[in-house]
């Protein structure tokens, strides 16, 4: 495996153009911490964004930051924090779960559309991503979007590239919309609720005017003996005081919540964000996206068939992190079968290579969508050199 680390976009263009001519498959890496995401791919060469670093634009009063793709995420976060701002979507850090080391890069956050608990209120990474530069599979530098929040000029290729995991192009620069860091953050915790009751609590809270910014349910056995249902409030102090009291009243049929704040609250949400509860085990890990009230329904069906399953809910019930024994198809048939009548999808996030090679990692698509997906891939990467087969066989 050879690694090429261009120091400029032009260098990346030249390298990719020659790889396209030779039809050499390329792995695209940011911090190079990637080991097990997507389907295992066969690439002899890697192209790294590590040489493309630095903040290119930061205007706090316009709430916008731009950086070259290889810029460490930590540097972007530090720059923002110095001015009291943050990335709205609270990106997950996969290192604990995937047992990798290295520096997550801002480009890979865009490439993976990686969001955390605040996604329910502040949107996903793709919602904050407003501009990109990337090199397509012909070695051409392309831009889409820009530095302004509102932009409907032409097709929104930004969204298409967010979450394409390196299959459409090599990102060289990304521009995100940012938000102010809230003055105060508190977490309300209810104990001992069933999955249905926990998710019902979260639904009432999210349907209230009190704007919870994160909402999760951890069944008993996930890092504690008792179940915990969590709501996070973020705002100016006056609002926090008022809203926590109103929420406690609104939800008093579920009991009185405990209040946690500061480091304890931060650590709890980091656990939820990074699926840390599954970090130390050998289980296969799935990520299910569903309508929130369907979360407990799907899990009831799955738990009947996969008795060693462990799971918890984020996004008000709509995101289920599920750990199952890493044997056979890692529960794929059961899990996808349970979701099918409900709508939604399941992605296999962690599993040994052999399983990820035999089980579709991303949710299989209908025929016409498959054709469109393959067509889009070819339109960016006609020689099929970027991460071939990473998302779907042939894409």
């Amino acid at each position: 495996m050879t690694l090429h680390t261009p120091s400029s976009e032009a260098d990346a263009c030249a390298f990719i153009a020659s790889a396209a001519t030779a039809r050499t498959p390329l792995a695209l890496v940011g911090g190079g911490t990637r080991a097990g995401l997507g389907r295992p791919t066969q690439t002899e060469r890697s192209l790294s964004s590590a040489g493309l670093t630095g903040i290119t634009l930061y205007e706090p009063s316009e709430m916008v930051i731009g950086a070259r793709a290889g810029t460490p995420l930590a540097e972007v976060q530090k720059t923002l924090a110095d001015r009291g701002q943050m990335l709205p979507f609270e990106p997950m850090d996969h290192r604990a779960l995937l047992r990798t080391s290295g520096e997550p890069t801002i480009g890979a956050i865009a490439a993976g559309n990686i969001s955390g608990p605040r996604r329910i209120n502040a949107g996903a990474a793709r919602d904050s991503l407003i501009g990109i530069r990337l090199v397509n599979g012909k070695g051409e530098a392309i831009k889409s979007g820009g530095r302004v929040m509102k932009n409907v000029t032409g097709l929104d290729l930004v969204k298409l590239v967010a979450g394409s995991f390196g299959t459409l192009g090599f990102l060289t620069e990304v521009i995100f919309r940012v938000l102010p860091v809230p003055e105060r953050v508190v977490t309300l915790v209810w104990r001992g609720l069933s999955d249905e009751a926990g998710v019902a609590l979260l639904s009432s809270a999210l349907g209230s005017p009190f704007e919870p910014m994160a909402a999760a349910h951890l069944p008993a056995g996930i890092d504690a003996d008792h179940a915990r249902t969590l709501l996070r409030l973020e705002n100016f102090s006056v609002s926090i005081e008022y809203r926590r009291a109103e929420l406690a009243t609104l939800l008093n049929c579920h009991g009185a919540p405990e209040l946690i704040e500061g480091a304890a609250s931060g650590a709890l949400w980091q656990g939820v964000r990074d699926a840390r509860f599954f970090a130390g085990s050998q289980e296969a890990v799935w990520r299910l996206s569903l309508a929130p009230t369907n979360g407990p329904k799907a899990m009831a069906a799955i738990a009947r068939a996969l008795q060693q399953a462990r799971w918890y809910y984020d996004w008000g019930g709509g995101l289920v992190w599920l750990a199952v024994p890493a044997v056979g198809d890692a529960g794929a048939a059961t899990i996808r079968g349970a979701i099918r009548p409900l709508g939604g999808h399941a992605t296999l996030v962690r599993a040994p290579d052999a399983i990820r090679a035999s089980v579709p990692v991303f949710e299989p698509m209908s025929g016409p969508l498959q054709r469109v997906t393959a067509g889009i891939k070819a339109s960016f990467d006609p020689a099929g050199i970027f991460e071939p087969g990473r998302m779907y066989a042939g894409v």
Binding site: E59, P60, S61, E62, V64, G84, S115, I120, A124, N136, I142, G146, R147, V148, M149, K150, N151, V152, T153, G154, L155, D156, K159, L160, A162, G163, S164, L168, P180, E183, A200, S203, L206, G207, P209, F236, V238, S239, Y242, S289, L290, A291, P292, N294, G318, L319, G344, H345, A346, F362, E363, P368, L369, V372, T373, G375, I376, S379, F380, M391
Partner: protein
């Protein structure tokens, strides 16, 4: 006006008109097919009324299956198709051409399902934007994107244009509020993309559909997010002696970590026009007006407004007028939301729509004034100050072709200026026919070709709304 070129209609299609109509008649009930000249008239233009073309025929299907049958037929016959919602596009996005069949979704206007626990509504594409909010309001919910045209415009058209509104500073635009669509492609295939869950698996094709201006397929149903409304909302009027000070106040508010739900800016000419129409109590002795709206409980709003007012004072605010009642709030918004209509009463106007980095505001306001004066015309400015989305209204007399041409030229110069300072050609109205020929200003050939290759994946024949968005020359295949 005749500055914007339309492709010449294909004489072979025109010659086969009867045959094509007979083919369509076999696919939809008689009431869904409009062929007489009189009845086709209303479909010859949209809100960019300076341009019109009578379509070959108009079809108003009632079901997704009918849309699929009609699209498949048009695809097979090589007949261009123009998808249409309510026809309120200001960029000419829904204007047909003589050899095209308009497929309108206006009859598909039912709300199919409301799911409060999961905070989504499933609607047909022809339902109006305001009807969605109307349906869920009693439960305290609303649909967030609020274009000023929300009484008339359809969810399908909002998806086509990725529409926004005054409140998108906090709540985002259409793309941030749609979770799924049923899309019919030119070959008649029907695909479900997304659903009631948050993130799509696989490539974000939904994100591509939103804002695609009817070029990738026809949306027949959509699942949209509905949000619980805040307990209260209160707008405040701020009058500033100069636009610079108003702009600096906006930057300072955001810098202080406050994101109001809306921050609207009006310059002096716009204030005069809107006040004369709406009698909203706007101050007449200031150069610039900001309408800043906050949300929450009374105590929360008081606290937030106190901070905002303090910042405004630091930037020399001349008038501060807090709304004291729901009626006053409604009047304040009525003035702003009727800006277009009110302007229409005093002159013909072109409403431009570009976005700039807000830091460039004073420079851009100055340059815009120079540009428009250079053509001997007047301009009134209303815009979304929080996100830099400008709406200069260029006033002219439409009975004077020379003046009309000047207005259009001035508008194009302003859009070039937006791009020059780091902004873009359109923030919410779309490219349509209006800005098609300026796409080269914002994008180079490689950028545009990449977009066109993606477009061609859905429509290799370039039949879907073909005269829009991309320059007529140099089109590429997948």
């Amino acid at each position: 006006m005749s500055a914007i070129a339309f492709p010449l209609p294909d004489p072979r299609i025109l010659a086969r008109r009867e045959e094509i109509i007979a083919g369509l008649a076999a696919l939809v009930p008689p009431a869904a097919l409009i062929t007489s000249e009189d009845e086709r008239r209303p479909y010859e233009t949209d809100a960019l009324t300076a341009y019109r073309r009578l379509p070959l025929a108009v079809v108003l299907p009632s079901t997704t299956q009918e849309v699929a049958a009609v699209l498949k037929f048009c695809g097979e016959q090589g007949v261009p198709v123009v998808p249409r919602g309510a026809g309120t596009s200001l960029a000419g996005g829904a204007i047909p051409q003589e050899d095209a069949v308009v497929i309108g979704v206006s009859k598909m206007n039912r709300i199919l399902e409301i799911d409060y626990a999961n905070r989504v509504a499933k609607v047909q594409a022809g339902v109006t934007n305001l009807a969605v909010t109307g349906e869920v309001m009693a439960e305290g919910f609303f649909y967030a994107p609020d274009p000023s045209s929300q009484l008339a415009c359809s969810i399908g058209g909002n998806i086509g244009m990725n529409s926004g509104g005054a409140h998108c500073l906090k709540y985002g635009v259409t793309t941030n509020n749609v979770l799924g669509v049923t899309l019919v492609m030119l070959d008649g295939s029907i695909v479900e993309i997304g659903g009631s869950h948050l993130d799509s698996g696989g490539l974000d094709i939904l994100g591509l559909i939103v804002g695609s201006e009817g070029q990738l397929g026809i949306v027949t149903e959509a699942t949209v997010r509905i949000l619980r409304a805040a307990e209260g909302a209160r707008p405040v009027l701020f009058g500033f002696p100069t636009s610079e000070q108003a702009g600096e106040a906006v930057a300072a508010i955001i810098g202080a970590g406050i994101i109001p739900v809306a921050m609207e800016f009006m310059d002096k000419p716009a204030i005069e026009i809107c006040e004369a129409f709406a009698h909203a109590g706007y101050p007449m002795d200031v150069e610039a007006l900001l309408i800043i709206e906050v949300e929450g409980s009374d105590a929360e709003m008081d606290a937030q407004l106190a901070r905002i007012v303090a910042i405004a004072r630091e930037h020399g605010v001349q008038t501060v007028k807090e709304s004291q009642s729901a009626m006053e709030s409604a009047a304040i918004w009525k003035g702003r939301k009727s800006a277009f209509g009110a302007t229409g009463r005093i002159a013909d106007y072109i409403c431009m729509d570009g976005t700039i980095p807000t830091g460039q505001l004073p420079h851009v306001l100055r340059r815009m004034d120079e540009i428009v004066k250079g053509y001997g015309l007047r301009v009134a400015n209303v815009f979304h100050a929080g996100d830099g989305n400008l709406h200069p209204l260029i006033l002219y007399n439409c009975n004077d072709p020379v003046e009309a041409q000047k207005a259009e030229d001035a508008g194009m110069d302003i859009l070039r200026l937006c791009v020059e300072v780091g902004g873009c050609l359109t923030g919410e109205h779309g490219v349509g026919i209006e800005k098609r020929d300026l796409m080269n200003v914002q994008f180079n050939e490689a950028d545009l070709h990449q977009q066109m290759r993606v477009r061609a994946v859905f429509d290799g024949q370039w039949l879907m709304n073909p005269a829009k968005v991309f320059p007529l020359e140099g089109r590429v295949a997948a």
